[in-house]
């Protein structure tokens, strides 16, 4: 439970405000679209008017005479891109912008208009005549769609443990239900923006992304450049949540503009374009079957998930991941089906796969508890596994039971009447619910340099990203501990691809991965004799140490508790209390970690009650592509939220830490849905739990 005995500083484990706080509260922090630049031109993206088809003509003649217009790029004159450039899982057609006359989905970029000022570019983009032939499209997702096929297994093979059918047949209590989640959007407050220019023979960019090195590498590959010809910087990023994990259209198009017009070009997506062009969490449909003995022992978990995909790029919404590690059971079967449709390629959104998967599994567990007449908390405790039920591997630190017990104590769970629709306050129905989660953790290779300066300070360089995660501040603490000095002696530089290969701020693997490289560099620096009158630098790339073998099941865990009120007349659900207990290894900075998991829970609250990308099947377009139509939680939706951590140290992970970025989101929707059931006696298996759905069920 404790850090190694030779840790002598209090750098890790102490709450400290963010290093960049003064810049952020005074408006001085410059994001990708904020850097002043000489001779800057502005590109505005023109998007497809149809959901599938072919561009017949783009007539730029009228536009080219408009004030300030420098030119129009489309598939006929844009720089050629390497079609093999890779996204998350192989070649990614979403990056092949302005390469052909084919239109694969609504909102696809078909042209870039570049002008002297943003207004001139926008006016010209509005005036650009684009003629298309519309082809039939299909954007309607169903799990039994004839085009459905098995998803890639790159994130893990399907589970086939025991005989699921036999166990279900002999289980005295069975739950067999379907759960539905809609398209959801990361909706980071900063729209994707990039500024690109050429400096000598080098492509330079300020870009809004989650990993400057990964983006630079992909950019080089896409434009057939050498890696050292590309430099991407992303000092401040206005949120990502997965949506900025890949090389985005803003930087591809800004780069094209800078090549075509020989001057710096800035491309900022509009909010609407972010909704239409950036990968969303795909809609899912899941069937979960649970079988149990009357004492609550699970006999079988069968988790079959389907999600929508685009033919342009592979994606895996790995919904059943939690079903492979959370509970002991004799038999587990998981399947994932991908349904190709004419959509923007879906992508990662906070807790991809696990988040919709947890809604299904943890709702089903609540339904099982109801049918068994066992407390939902007790049901989970009774099914704690000794080893990974699919992998057979031993667990690393696993404190799910501690999260459940401590959370229950603080929440006052034990005074709960398990029967639904028993608690009323005036005209409101009141209910409580919980969910348990696991989120995989590991460390991936990164490069860190540490310089021992002659004044006794240290400079740490690593291409980490701080997208609001607090990594700048956390890594200073980790470096201070590794170097056995106070944090005031550490300077840090991040978010610059020139600092070398590094994992991005994604997969909840940022801090463990960057901590690993910093720890290795610090160790070698401390062991290396050197002359204190000269600066000395040690650089370590942990790729040389990475085996890719995992010998234990290492996950972060949480238990989420929710209390809701439901107005039976209006259908309004309000989250009145939300409490999360987390086991995330050692907590580097409790102030910042608490903010991060609370923010995750609020995103889960949005998923439960508000968020739904609505697609019109006739046009194939999202009809609510703005914040007036796509509702994310606002101040008034969010109660005071309690989040805390059980003491933990993960010996298999650098600095004893596990990832914290996504686990807050994962279990919250199920906890709220289960609370709505407890309040009303009615199950909501379709998200979000909208007013009309509540009213219809109550009627």
């Amino acid at each position: 439970m404790n850090a190694p005995a030779d840790v002598i500083t209090d750098a890790v484990g102490t709450s400290r405000p963010r290093l960049e706080g003064p810049e952020k509260v005074s408006g001085r922090a410059r994001y990708a679209a904020d850097h002043p630049m000489h001779d800057l031109a502005f590109g505005v993206v023109v998007t497809s008017p149809v959901a599938r088809g072919r561009i017949r003509d783009i007539d730029a003649s009228a536009v080219l005479t408009m004030p300030g217009v420098l030119g129009v790029l489309d598939h006929r004159n844009a720089p050629r891109l390497d079609p093999q450039a890779s996204g998350f899982f192989g070649p990614d057609g979403s990056m092949q912008l302005l390469q052909s006359d084919s239109i694969p989905h609504a909102g696809r970029a078909v042209a870039l208009v570049v002008a002297q000022t943003p207004h001139e570019a926008q006016a010209a983009a509005d005036a650009l005549a684009v003629t298309c032939d519309a082809h039939p499209h299909d954007t309607t997702f169903t799990a039994d769609h004839p085009a459905g096929r098995a998803a890639l297994t790159v994130l893990g093979e399907d589970a086939n443990v025991g005989d699921v059918d036999a166990e279900l047949a002999s289980s005295p209590v069975v739950v067999d239900e379907r759960y539905f989640t809609p398209e959801e959007h990361c909706s980071a407050m900063e729209p994707h923006a990039a500024t690109a220019w050429w400096d000598g023979g080098r492509l330079q960019a300020f870009d809004s992304n989650q990993g400057a090195f990964d983006v630079a590498r992909t950019l080089a590959s896409l434009f057939s450049l050498e890696l050292d010809q590309v430099r991407v910087r992303s000092e401040h990023v206005g949120g990502g949540f997965g949506s900025k994990g890949l090389l985005g259209p803003q930087l591809i198009l800004a780069t094209m503009g800078s090549m075509a017009f020989g001057r710096p070009v800035r491309v900022t997506l509009t909010r609407r374009q972010v909704f239409l062009m950036i990968g969303m969490r795909p809609a899912t449909e899941q069937r979960v079957r649970l079988g149990a003995d009357t004492d609550g022992s699970l006999r079988a978990i069968d988790h079959q998930a389907a999600f929508e995909i685009s033919p342009l790029a592979e994606w895996v919404e790995n919904c059943p991941e939690g079903s492979k590690v959370l509970y002991a059971t004799r038999a587990i079967r998981t399947r994932i089906t991908a349904v190709p449709l004419d959509l923007t390629p879906p992508g990662p959104m906070r807790g991809p796969g696990l988040t919709p998967g947890s809604f299904a599994l943890e709702s089903a567990m609540d339904e099982l508890a109801e049918r068994l007449g066992i407390d939902p908390l007790e049901l989970r405790l009774r099914n704690e596994p000794a080893v990974g039920p699919v992998s057979g591997l031993p667990y690393g630190s696993r404190n799910l039971a501690a999260c459940l017990r401590e959370g229950a104590r603080r929440f006052g769970w034990h005074s709960r009447d398990p029967r639904p629709r028993r608690r009323r306050e005036g005209h409101l129905l009141v209910g409580t619910g919980l969910a348990a989660t696991a989120f995989g953790s590991s460390a991936f290779p990164s490069t860190a340099s540490i310089t021992a300066e002659t004044d006794g300070s240290y400079t740490v360089r690593i291409a980490a990203s701080d997208i609001g995660t607090g990594s700048r501040t956390a890594l200073v603490a980790i470096a201070a501990e590794a170097l056995r000095v106070g944090t005031e002696r550490i300077r840090i530089r991040i978010a610059d691809s020139d600092l070398g290969p590094a994992w991005s701020a994604s997969g909840s693997r940022g801090t463990p991965s960057w901590a690993w490289a910093i720890n290795e560099a610090a160790t070698r620096l401390r062991e290396q004799p050197h002359d204190p009158t000269r600066p000395v630098t040690v650089t370590v790339d942990t790729a040389e140490l990475f085996t890719g073998r995992f010998v234990r099941e290492v996950h972060a865990y949480s238990a989420i508790f929710a209390e809701v009120t439901v107005d039976p007349a209006t259908g309004e659900v309000r989250t009145r209390r939300l409490l999360g207990m987390f086991a995330i290894g050692r907590v580097v900075n409790p102030l910042l970690a608490r903010s991060q998991v609370i923010g995750g829970m609020i995103m889960g609250l949005g998923m439960a009650l508000h968020e739904e990308g609505v697609r019109d099947p006739v046009s194939g377009r999202q009809v609510n592509a703005d914040f007036a139509g796509y509702h994310i939680p606002a101040h008034a939706d969010v109660p005071d939220i309690e989040a805390d951590f059980v003491p933990e140290y993960e010996p298999d992970e650098p600095s004893g830490v596990k990832g914290a970025g996504e686990i807050g989101t994962v279990g919250t929707a199920a906890a709220i849905a289960n609370a709505v059931w407890h309040a009303t006696g009615l199950r909501h298996r379709v998200l979000p739990i909208r007013l009309d759905r509540v009213v219809e069920e109550m009627a």
Binding site: P17, R18, E20, G21, P22, E23, K24, V25, S26, G27, R28, A29, R30, Y31, A33, D34, P36, T117, P118, H119, C186, S187, A188, M189, E190, P191, H236, V237, G238, G239, F241, T268, T270, R271, I467, G468, T469, G470, L591, L592, R594, S595, Q596, I598, G599, G600, M601, I602, M603, D626, F627, A628, I632, P633, A634, H635, A636, V638, D640, I641
Partner: protein, 180 residues
């Protein structure tokens, strides 16, 4: 206004007067960001839906993306850069740092300007939808978390820093009440 659809205007921003020649369609947000290099105000949606561009006009909060620059002439404009003109952060800004009232920081300028305006509105006795007795002077009624959440709901934060923002605003309100 000139015949070419442009106007010569003067904008007084953070106690400094700037002469500008702007396209009449230019929003105040674009004038601040593009002409004056005051990029603290952010463009999160450009439709008045997110609040990241909130600034103060004569002390009242407005979304600068829905305000024309030409219409802001003759007002005292305060942006986030003007909240600490001499470089010393004001208590609200310090509370945001100490209580971690932001993560990515992109909505923060708007949250801060909105909070300054909101505290002034409450102090001036303006009720909100959450005010229990709207017939009375709202400044006499306690500013609690429910009031702050209601009054700040025009400022979206996707990182979900809401609970910390509310605490920072309430702490600042308490300090102001003490000093009044």
């Amino acid at each position: 206004m000139n015949d070419d659809g442009r106007s010569d205007i003067s904008l007084r921003v953070n106690d400094v007067t700037h002469g500008l020649n702007v396209d009449n369609r230019t929003t105040l947000l674009d004038a601040l960001r593009d002409a004056l290099d005051l990029t603290g105000s952010k463009k999160g949606c450009d439709r008045g839906q997110c609040g990241a561009c909130t600034v103060l006009l004569d002390g009242r909060r407005v979304v600068s993306c829905l305000t024309l620059a030409v219409a802001a002439e003759g007002t005292e404009i305060t942006t986030v850069e003007g909240l600490a003109p001499d470089g010393e952060l004001r208590p609200l800004q310090r509370a945001f740092i100490q209580l971690d009232g932001f993560q990515c920081g992109y909505c923060t300028s708007g949250q801060l300007c909105s909070a300054v305006g909101m505290l002034a509105e409450h102090a001036a006795g303006w009720p909100s939808a959450a005010t229990v007795d709207v017939s009375a002077d709202a400044s006499a009624q306690e500013l609690d978390a429910v009031e702050v959440r209601e009054r700040m709901s025009g400022n979206l934060c996707r990182c979900g820093a809401y609970p910390s923002i509310v605490r920072a605003v309430l702490e600042t309100a308490d300090q102001q009440a003490v000093t009044r």
